[in-house]
Every structure is written in structure tokens, then in C-alpha cells.
Symmetry: C2
Subunit: 404 residues, 2 copies
């Protein structure tokens, strides 16, 4: 008998029919002899409906009250799923954050779990019940309702899995696993059976939208085996675990891509170490996160600094850099929104030389120029012209994967 | 400075515009120097929407989970009102049942409040906050979500008013007070400035649908002054208090009516005391409540018993009585659905003779026959043919009220 946490997102509980299907799937797991804790999101569309009610009242609604409002979405879905399971003759109970003793800090709208007292959850499991837990929500130390922000239900699932020492945390989503590239771009992309936490972290942060990065981080931290799988094909999926030796045979695990970035360049900055710090501090003061950074030393000993920022921050970033031109004695600022980042990720890179060579040869063969490069132990990212995104993804996929 | 509880029903918070209007009204009360606790229902239609989701899953959904589901309705409205008040620059906080420490028994769907610890409510008021409390809901001693059943938000308002020793509990509704008769039937009906708890109890149970009877009972029990008033005309309304001597001048306070009843008669029952008990017990076993009861002794020493029951119970009541005919040795069972009850209510009746005379004279003048009569210290009820309902109400109103 295993202890399994199953998380279902908004699409999986988006209608009564879908909820009935989830009930059947959960009961099947229980009948296989496992103890099951189910963690649910709100029905698809419900959170947006609630936020739109709030915005009609106040474009920046009070954060505490917004959490009281939107946490009702998960409360509705857990009650409905519990009813559906009970109707089928099985024992189930819904638990809200205060009932499941899920404590968070008090950063409304983006709270972090600080403690889960597993006693109530374990008590219900020991009594043979399927526990249906409202995801995305918690209570702070004063009993205020909090929500965990984007991807919060995944976070709840992983945190709960860690607290009750679950054997596996299953994340049901609308894709059936993690692929070697986005199947919408590279039709020959393959579903991976396993992938390491490290790789998944790089893939998640690089734009593979299967799992939120916080969820993967947490699962890795607690060493909770995480499985991504589809409600429609629950027997497949990708298992995310710690690195195992035989996995190193695969040098590159996946090709990720991201169209959310924009390129900023400030040219001709006098070569004083403090100047780069000044630039980054100004961006940070305005909460603009910088992803890739590169410097190009010019012949005149001045330096061009190039950054990528989120596309939403592009206009503001451009203005901020322009405000620095005179202070720093720089020459000009340039910006480019039409860029995309493609990356090859794999723990195998650690022990295999030549990955970068293969990668740039594949890009060169398609005449794709690199605008910016950044590397880590297990990934190489290249910023390219946005129009070459699909071509680039397919080129890298062909270079690193044997096509059957 | 007074401490005031204001309750708003589903229609009053039925849209964002209505919620904004309630925010203005609450703030106005606060600015007059009062401390305010607001108790809210779900937005009109929301509870029905949630119940219909549940019924799609199970026609008899699990009671515990149904309460988890439908209690979200009030949670949504308190969050939205709190946002609207905060947006206007005032301090407000929403509280759910567990935060406001409202404890109930564990009869899901029709729980009763067993305890309110007022410490949190008073703490928020002392800090100058307008408290927005989710009505209709509680928590049982194990922390399960419960709901209070029909009229539950009124009950929450009165129980909370008693717990915090409020000076007044204001029930905002879509009528602007209690009238001497239904204004839709008798256009000359007048709004009463005051009425006693006793009278209001009789009026409520007799079909004046302004207040739920449990709410009036509770207010009377705790001696919480209760005011019924309209969101659209908040300066008027009717105050419900304990009897004051000068009020006795008015013999009859109001004319109530009720079309929800049906008449059942079992004829020729042998005159043994146990027979009436047998009849009533059989009805009670099937949860059929009997309102009026009369017996007509026939010349042959047998007895006809006549009852009124709720119209929804008519068919079943008829069958049950028929099943008794042979056992009791009765002759036959008759039923009549086309009946209505009209009543004159007033504490003044206690000290004024002749009310019954005036009443029956007024009915006789319109040729309206009484099918059944029942009386209490402060009311006289008459069952009549349904088609004379409006005529009867106007006849009694003219008889007891001076028309200006």
C-alpha cells in the first residue's frame, strides 16, 4: 500500500462531467490499495470570474479580502468531488486549509507554506477516507485566509506530500508528461519516462509550462517523487526524481523555448566596475528581473552591456536605461522585442564535452545567429531572432535526439 | 455611540451596484458615530446556482459537503463588501464563521447556534473597523462547516447582536417595514412604526413573509430590538420591541394571510379519546405538521376532525387519513386545497372584548363563510375559501383600521 497525493487542475474539474471522471480515477487508485489525498484547483474559469467581480469594485482590491474571495473557488470544487465520491459509495471528506492545518506566512496573494500539521490528514486516511483538500489556500498565524499565488495548487500538493511522507505526488494536467521539446513545434518530440529535478527546474524556468518552478523546487527540496500525467491517459506520464547514473547516457534531455523575453542593450559604457552594478540596481529597484546578461568589450575600452528582461518590463526597462546614459557617460540604448530563447537542458552535459559545439553547429546549419548566450552546468541557452524560434527548436531536437 | 448590527439579504447584495450601495449605507451609519457589524447573505441566485451544481452530481448530496459548498456564497459577498468599504477609505474586515467564533451543533443544513465567543468581534470593533460577517454559516465543535437553514442569515444577525449586546439589530429587506396588511392586497395598508415580538411572531407564522419566525423568536428571547427596513428607504422601517402600555390602544395591529395551507377532514370517527391521538401521531410520523385543528360533534355521537396542513403535504396527508378509515371505523375522508387563512393579530386583544364579533361581522357582510376557526390570546385566524382571500383581507382591514 502506497500513500499517494493526486493533484487536479482547473481543467480537470472544469465541469460536472469532468469532476465525475476525476471521482472515478481517484476511486480506482483507492481500489488498487492505496491511500489517497486529492488536492484540487478551482473549476476552470471560476478564479477569473471572482477576480473580475473584485475588479468591478476596485482595480486594486484589498489583498486580504481578495484571498477570502478567490479561495471560495477551491472550496466549491472539493465539496463537489467529495459528493461525487460519496455518491459512488466510497468514504470521502473535504478539508479546507484551516481544517487541514495548513499554515502560511501573511503575504496575501503570494503566501508561502510555513507549516503543515499532518495529524488531521493522517487521521482521516487511517479511517479509510479519501481526503479531498482545497489547494492554493492556507491560513496565516492569525487565522486569515491566504492564497499561494500562481501554481499554488501544485505547491499545496507537494507540500502536503512532503508533510505526510507520500510515496508519490501525481500532478494531473492537460498534457501527458514532459516532452523532449514542445510537441506543437516539433511533432517528433518524445515523452520522457523520467527526468531529474535539476533538469525539470531548468526546463520549467526556460518556458516548458508543464509545471510551476516553485512546485519542482519544493518537490526537489523534500525529495518527493513527482509524476506529471494526464487525466485522459493516467497510465503514462513522466516521473521526476533525483539523478540516477544510467540517465547520464542521455546528454540532452529536452529542448526548451521562451518567447517572453526582450533584449536591452546599453552601449559605450565607460569601463568602471561600478557601472554594471548601478545599472542592475536601478532595474532591481523597479522590480525588473534580469535573466541573461552579457558584456561586449569595444575597441575603445568602453563596454556594451546586453540584458534580457520580461517582455512586459521592456518599455520601462528602456526608459530606465535611457535615464542612465548621461550619468554613466554611455553612448546609447537599444532594445529588441522580437527575440526568443531556446535552450538545451540535460544533466548529461556535466560529463559530456562537445554539447555546445553540436548546438551551435545545428544553429549555423540553419543560418540562425546567436544574439546572446548563457550557460550553466546543465543547460545552454541562446537568444535568437523570434522568427527562427520553431526552426531553431527543430534543429536542436534533431541534433540531440535520434529520430525513430 | 450605539452598537448596531445590520443584516442585508441576497437581493440587497445581488449585484456589484447593490453592494456599492450597501457600502455607502454602512459607512453612513459608521459616520453617524456608531459601531457597525454587517451580516450578509449570498448574492441573490448564488445559493441556488451552487445547489444546482450539487444536484447534478447527487440528487441527495452529502449534507456535510453541501454545507461546505453553499457556505461559499456568503464568503464571496463579505469579501466584496469589505473591498468596497476599504476602497472608500474606511477600515473594514470580513470574518467567516470560524474567525468570528460562531459555533453550532452538527445538524448540517439546519444547524443551530450553540455559542458565539464575542471576543474577536469586539476586538475588531474596538480597533475602529467595520466588521463584515458571513451569515448563514457556522462551525460545529469539530470544525466542520455548517449552515443554519432557511432564514439563517437573519438568525446569525440576531444571535450576534445578542452576543455583542448590540443596541439594535437592523434587518434590511425589500420591503420598508411591517404593514397592517399586505399592501399588494390592501393598498390602504399602513406601515407600523412599532410592533411587539408577540405580534410579530403571530404575523410571521401566519404568512407575513417579512421576517423568518426563528429570527423573531431569537430576538425576543435575547430582547434584541429588531428593526425591519428597506435598503431603498433606510430612514423608515418598523421597530419590534417588547410590549409597551400605550400600544394597547391599538386593538389589532395587523391582518395576515396565508395561502400555503390545505384542509383535511376525516368524518364519522367514533368518539374515543385515543382516535385523535392516533390520527395526529400518524401525520407526525410522516413529518406532516398540523396547523389548525377543529372537531365537529355529529348528532350520531361520532366526530368529524378537520385539520390544516401545508399544501405540499396535502396529497400524502389525504392518503394517510384514508389508510386510517377502516382501523378507526370512520366513514370518509375529504380534502380541500382551495382554502386560505386570514388572521387578525394584536396584543390589544388581551384587554379588549368584542374583537371576534367585529371580525365575523365584517366577514358576514361580505358573505364569506368560515371553514375553520382558531384563536390565541393575541390572534384570531379563520380559514376561508381561497377565492375570497383578497376580499377578506380588505374587509378585516377596514373593520379594524381607521382609513385616513
Amino acid at each position: 500500500m502506497s500513500l499517494i497525493v493526486q493533484k487536479f487542475g482547473g481543467t480537470s474539474v472544469g465541469s460536472i462531467d469532468r469532476i465525475e471522471a476525476v471521482a472515478d480515477l481517484v476511486i480506482k487508485t483507492k481500489q488498487q490499495g492505496h491511500q489517497v489525498v486529492v488536492v484540487l484547483s478551482a473549476m476552470a474559469g471560476e478564479t477569473n470570474r471572482l477576480i473580475s467581480l473584485a475588479k468591478q469594485i476596485d482595480n486594486r482590491p484589498n489583498a486580504r479580502e481578495l484571498d477570502v474571495l478567490i479561495s471560495t473557488g477551491e472550496q466549491v470544487s472539493v465539496a463537489l468531488l467529495a459528493m461525487a465520491i460519496i455518491k459512488r459509495g466510497h468514504s470521502a471528506i473535504s478539508l479546507l486549509a484551516d481544517q487541514a492545518l495548513i499554515q502560511t506566512d501573511n503575504f496575501f496573494g503570494k503566501a508561502r507554506v510555513t507549516d503543515i500539521d499532518s495529524s488531521r490528514l493522517l487521521h482521516e486516511l487511517e479511517h479509510g477516507r479519501i481526503v479531498i483538500l482545497a489547494g492554493f489556500q492556507g491560513r496565516d498565524s492569525e487565522g486569515n485566509v491566504t492564497t499561494l499565488g500562481r501554481g499554488g495548487t501544485d505547491t499545496t500538493a507537494v507540500e502536503v506530500a512532503a508533510a505526510i511522507k507520500a510515496n508519490e505526488c501525481q500532478i494531473y494536467t492537460d498534457v501527458d508528461g514532459v516532452y523532449t521539446a514542445d510537441p506543437r513545434i516539433e511533432s517528433r518530440a518524445r515523452r520522457m519516462d523520467t527526468i531529474t529535478f535539476e533538469e525539470m527546474l531548468e526546463l520549467a524556468s526556460l518556458g516548458a509550462k508543464v509545471l510551476q518552478i516553485r512546485c519542482v523546487e519544493a518537490a526537489g527540496r523534500y525529495n518527493v517523487p513527482l509524476r506529471v500525467l494526464s487525466t485522459f491517459a493516467p497510465d503514462q506520464g513522466t516521473l521526476i526524481t533525483y539523478e540516477e547514473p544510467q540517465m547520464l547516457d542521455q546528454v540532452v534531455s529536452g529542448i526548451a523555448h521562451n518567447k517572453d523575453e526582450a533584449l536591452l542593450t546599453i552601449c559605450g559604457v565607460p569601463n568602471t566596475p561600478i557601472n554594471l552594478a548601478k545599472i542592475l540596481q536601478l532595474l532591481a529597484q523597479h522590480a525588473i528581473e534580469v535573466d541573461m546578461i552579457a558584456q561586449i568589450n569595444q575597441k575603445d575600452a568602453n563596454i556594451d552591456y546586453a540584458f534580457t528582461v520580461h517582455r512586459n518590463d521592456f518599455e520601462q526597462g528602456l526608459e530606465l536605461l535611457q535615464s542612465l546614459v548621461q550619468t554613466l557617460g554611455a553612448t546609447e540604448v537599444k532594445g529588441n522585442c522580437n527575440v526568443a530563447k531556446i535552450s538545451a537542458v540535460g544533466v548529461g552535459m556535466k560529463s559530456h564535452a562537445g554539447v555546445a559545439g553540436t548546438l551551435f553547429q545545428a544553429l549555423a546549419a540553419e543560418n540562425i545567429a546567436a544574439l546572446l548566450i548563457s550557460t550553466s552546468e546543465i543547460k545552454i541557452s541562446v537568444l535568437i531572432d523570434e522568427k527562427y524560434l520553431e526552426l531553431g527548436v527543430r534543429a536542436l531536437h534533431s541534433a540531440f535526439f535520434v529520430i525513430n
